[in-house]
């Protein structure tokens, strides 16, 4: 075999070693070869780096999965297209439907059964001035009209039961359980009864009824208008709500099951017997109680990680900010998790040491609302699963008390519902016995046991039956000492993370896959409980683990072969420091507020450098400089070699300079003298409707480029004539210039001068449009305000959400004109149409059950 073939063979083996597909002999052959072949050693490092990077991607993806599982989904693009299509089609369909389906207003009479304390004039009911009036409707519903309240009845459209306009005053509707949508309209918008009781207020006295009966209007035109409006409202409303809340279509009367603030039910076993002592959480997917798990009384409980005995479940359940509980089931198996916030996509989580973990989505269609307002999800069935029990003994057969025992999913096994690293942990008792239950039937597992000083003993098994009397025999391991030193000075490095990689152990199960330790003040770390042999040890120096404001350059860690029983020394290359001083070029005064972006000079980056220091780092950007008053900031964690630093300060032209980071330990100082930017931009801000100048508006000029964070930012205010003069701009066409204008009560205005385009000396007047506002209030059945309820409006990119305050009130500000469904707990409680800039609408109080 020639040398080339030998290199190729070794590289194949290196590749296979990354997949644990080499024999011990092959491993030795590789080790022998790479000890003398730099090229193959580099290949091995690269293969490890690729694996590490992809494993990092897996970890990041798992994180992203958990995040996306927690948050409400954003509507997909096809839904927005569906909205647009629906809005285009709706008017035509509406006209047709209006012609065909709308009832004849000439023959239609209001569905009034009786009236008490009010007078009826045609289709209009006017309450007296003294007391509340009551209007009973033919379907059993009841309207309570506040004094002087006026309502007008309209012919209902298809699928509607009632269509009533509130002309003035306040109405409380008690809605009977019957088919058809119950609609109340005010000049501010339309409310649909989704609960059984709700109150509508109309603060504004108006002279005519919105869309109400108008005897002078030509009948055909009116029918077309009503039909089109109705259909647009229905289609747009449904599509918009679908886009906000997911896949549920709403119908009148469904809200009883949709709105709840506590969840109850019963935990039973496979035989239907109640299970006591199970812990139950409710995950509502709404992360507004950040970082705190609430206990049954609604008080902040302990964070999840203190449930040390239930580590097995943590990964699986991700008990976190949106998870409420636990409630413990009583002897009858019943639980009641209170104060679950505002459930968007509820899930009941059940843990019991003797049973399999259980995650059951809340099926609202099969849930009922109890008298106390709790959503009763019925029975949650948990399965017993399989168990494994036995004894842990030492080499002489004596029982080992207090040994850790874990049942884990073998790496590479698929099809598990939870995280692959999910495991169940236990400890042996005084007789060395253990008993682990609740394993998923039929699955392969690995049972492991260990102590701090022993080599883990393993027992792979399949949970196709209960396994009893398993004996795990522990053998004492040896210790490996690793001393970490600075490669240039020889001084010990404290606080370095030392991790042991051994392919034989690493891929068996996570709990003992990696031995870790941190170096002490003498730079020493001891890894115990390992089998004698040679291992790959990875060291990450403390100054390379990252710090605030500095993204840690990748691939800084050092991996070396270490042998047990000897004092292994690993030299690391400590980071260099570069001190940056930034001054004004004209006055030489130090600048204290600036940003710096640093990147490796790729022009001189070569293979030799890469082999010594690794692959090019990402750009390091410090977006928030912490310069001292002398304008000095020390940049750390830089590798030796050429770097390009670009410094930005507001009101100055950015400056790019090369920094040569030396091999030596000394701190390099680099001085940046920035020239003041001299660009000027003039403009004015006016009201879009009136053309009047707007004084005291904030004009925020922001220059940026995609490669960097903000280059230059300058803020000004308009004068009494609405004019502004922005100075200190770079005038460089390499940057975008964004001019944002804001003023309370107006929507933000924006003008962009794209990079590459010439900068104008003055802008056209910037026209600001007044913002619209929607307000409302959420109360419970007794009228008590509900706080922290999540309220949504808009859809797609414009989706907004807010939480109610202590008084149950919510406010959406900064809205452009348009149509806004208001959604609470999957239910649309109202649709508000804002037609005029500056309009302020109040949604009727939403009363939940």
């Amino acid at each position: 075999m020639n040398a080339h073939d030998e290199h190729a063979r070794i590289r194949r083996l290196i590749s296979q070693a990354a997949d644990d597909a080499v024999t011990a002999d092959e491993q030795r052959a590789v080790a022998t070869h790479v000890a003398t072949c730099d090229a193959c050693a580099t290949f091995a490092r690269d293969v490890a780096a690729i694996g590490d990077a992809l494993a990092h991607r897996a970890a990041a993806d798992a994180l992203a999965d958990r995040v996306l599982a927690r948050v409400a989904p954003r509507p997909h693009r096809w839904r927005r297209l569906a909205i647009a299509a629906a809005l285009l089609v709706a008017p035509i369909a509406g006209i047709v439907l209006g012609l065909v389906l709308s009832s004849d207003p000439d023959t239609w009479t209001p569905p009034i059964a009786s009236v008490d304390g009010a007078s009826v004039r045609g289709r209009t009911v006017v309450a007296g001035d003294g007391a509340d009036a009551t209007v009973r409707l033919t379907d059993g519903s009841r309207l309570v009209l506040a004094p002087a309240c006026t309502v007008a009845f309209n012919a209902p459209g298809r699928g509607e039961r009632h269509r009533i306009d509130v002309v003035r005053g306040s109405v409380t509707a008690h809605v009977a359980d019957a088919d058809g949508r119950f609609i109340l309209r005010t000049p501010a918008g339309t409310a649909e009864a989704l609960g059984t009781t709700f109150t509508v207020g109309c603060d504004v006295l108006v002279d005519d009824t919105p869309d109400g009966p108008d005897e002078e209007e030509p009948r055909m035109t009116k029918r077309m208008t009503v039909g089109a409006a109705m259909t647009v409202a229905v289609l747009a409303g449904v599509v918009l709500v679908r886009s906000v809340i997911g896949e549920e279509t709403l119908h009148a009367g469904e809200s009883r099951a949709l709105t709840t603030w506590s969840v109850a039910g019963r935990v039973i076993d496979e035989q239907g017997s109640p299970v006591a002592g199970a812990k139950v959480w409710v995950d509502n997917g709404t992360p507004f109680q950040t970082g705190v798990v609430m206990d049954g009384a609604g008080e902040p409980s302990v964070p999840w990680r203190t449930f040390s005995g239930e580590a097995a479940f943590i990964d699986t359940f991700a008990i976190g900010p949106s998870t409420y509980g636990p409630a413990t089931t009583g002897p009858d198996g019943r639980f009641h998790v209170r104060n679950v916030g505002s459930p968007m996509r509820g899930k009941v989580l059940v843990l019991h040491p003797d049973y399999r973990e259980c995650k059951q989505p809340i099926d609202r269609a099969r849930s009922t609302v109890r008298g106390d307002g709790a959503l009763d999800v019925g029975d949650v069935r948990i399965a017993q699963g399989r168990r494994v029990s036995g004894r842990v003994v030492d080499a002489s057969g004596e029982p080992v008390a207090g040994a850790s025992v874990a049942v884990a999913i073998p790496r590479g096994a698929t099809g598990y519902s939870g995280h692959e690293g999910a495991l169940r942990m236990s400890e042996t008792d005084a007789d060395g016995r253990f008993d682990v239950r609740g394993l998923v039937e039929g699955r392969p597992f690995v049972l492991g046991a260990w102590t701090a000083t022993s080599i883990p003993a393993e027992h792979p098994f399949t949970a196709d039956r209960d396994h009893g009397d398993v004996e795990l025999r522990l053998t004492e391991g040896v210790a490996m000492t690793v001393s970490v030193r600075d490669g240039r000075t020889g001084t010990p490095v404290a606080g370095a993370a030392v991790r042991l990689h051994d392919p034989g152990m690493e891929n068996r199960y996570d709990v003992v896959s990696i031995q870790r330790a941190t170096t002490d003040a003498d730079g020493r770390a001891t890894l115990r409980g390992i089998a004698p042999g040679t291992y790959r040890v990875n060291v990450v120096p403390p100054d390379r683990k990252g710090r605030i404001g500095v993204e840690s350059p990748p691939a800084w860690s050092v991996t070396r072969e270490c042998t047990s029983g000897t004092d292994n020394v690993i030299e690391v290359d400590a980071a260099r420091a570069v001190a940056l001083t930034v001054v004004d070029a004209g006055s030489a005064e130090p600048l204290t507020a600036w940003r710096v972006s640093v990147r490796p000079d790729r022009a001189v980056f070569d293979k030799a450098y890469a082999e010594r220091y690794g692959w090019p780092a990402s750009d390091i950007t410090i977006d928030e400089s912490k310069a001292t008053e002398a304008g000095r900031f020390v940049l750390q964690s830089l590798r030796p070699g050429p770097w390009i630093a670009r410094v930005f300060a507001d009101g100055y032209r950015p400056l790019e300079q090369r920094i040569d980071v030396p091999e030596s330990n000394a701190t390099t100082t680099v001085r940046f003298a920035l020239e003041a930017a001299s660009g000027v931009l003039r403009g004015a801000v006016v009201d879009d409707a009136t053309g009047e100048p707007i004084a005291d508006a904030l004009v925020d000029c922001y220059e940026w480029s995609p490669r960097h964070y903000g280059v230059n930012r300058r803020k000004f205010e308009t004068d009494a004539a609405g004019a502004f003069t922005a100075t200190g701009l770079t005038d460089e066409t390499a940057f975008d210039l964004k001019v944002w204008v804001s003023k309370p009560g107006y929507l933000r205005g924006e003008v962009v001068v794209k990079r590459g385009e010439p900068r104008p000396a003055a802008l056209e007047p910037i026209r600001l449009v007044r913002e619209c506002t929607i307000r409302g209030r959420i109360v419970d059945a007794s009228g008590r305000p509900l706080d922290r309820v999540r309220v949504l409006t808009g859809g797609g990119k414009d989706a907004r959400d807010t939480l109610t305050d202590r008084d149950g009130r919510f406010t959406f500000t900064g809205l452009p004109t348009g149509r806004y469904p208001i959604v609470v707990d999957h239910a649309k409680i109202a649709t508000v149409t804002l037609t005029h800039p500056g309009e302020s609408a109040k949604v009727p109080d939403h009363r939940t059950r």
Binding site: D19, A311, T621
Partner: protein, 181 residues
Amino acid sequence: MSAVPVTPPDERLVGQVLGGEPAAFRLLVRRHADGVAAIAHGFGVDRNASDDVLQDVFAAAYERLGQLRDPSRFGGWLHEIARNRCRRHVAREAKRPDADAAPIPEGAVAATAADRAPESDAIAAALERLPAHFRVALELRHVDGLGLAEIGARLGLEVNGVNARLYRARQMMRRLMKGDE
């Protein structure tokens, strides 16, 4: 020729997420998880809790993405959220009476994003340029953690074939990372 990152910039990804493509958020997490982890580390957030804090930070960012004024500043904006969350976390931990009680043994916690070596632009760029059959093989091995036999079953290859494919994929990755191709 040096490797050129071909991953889309933050502002485009932010636009995609706002446009209803949650998959784009995955790329943002990949890109910024280490920065956030570094911040958490800087605040002294316990390793066991850092994954939870990371989740919090990214969930908050996702929820508030519509409020981000300049998508190109996603990184800085995210870091600000991270600092606030970490501050809150540290303050809450300090108040907790059993702050030091019953910590989970370090080894008992599955590896988090913070434990892994971050993915550099060079590797990300090379991966993007890698032919699909190579990329899939590498991802099945390292991202999904499948064994050779399982990869073979997915790709219709014998184990030796999987070995060969992975070897060639890694060779090509190296060449792409060095800009040789």
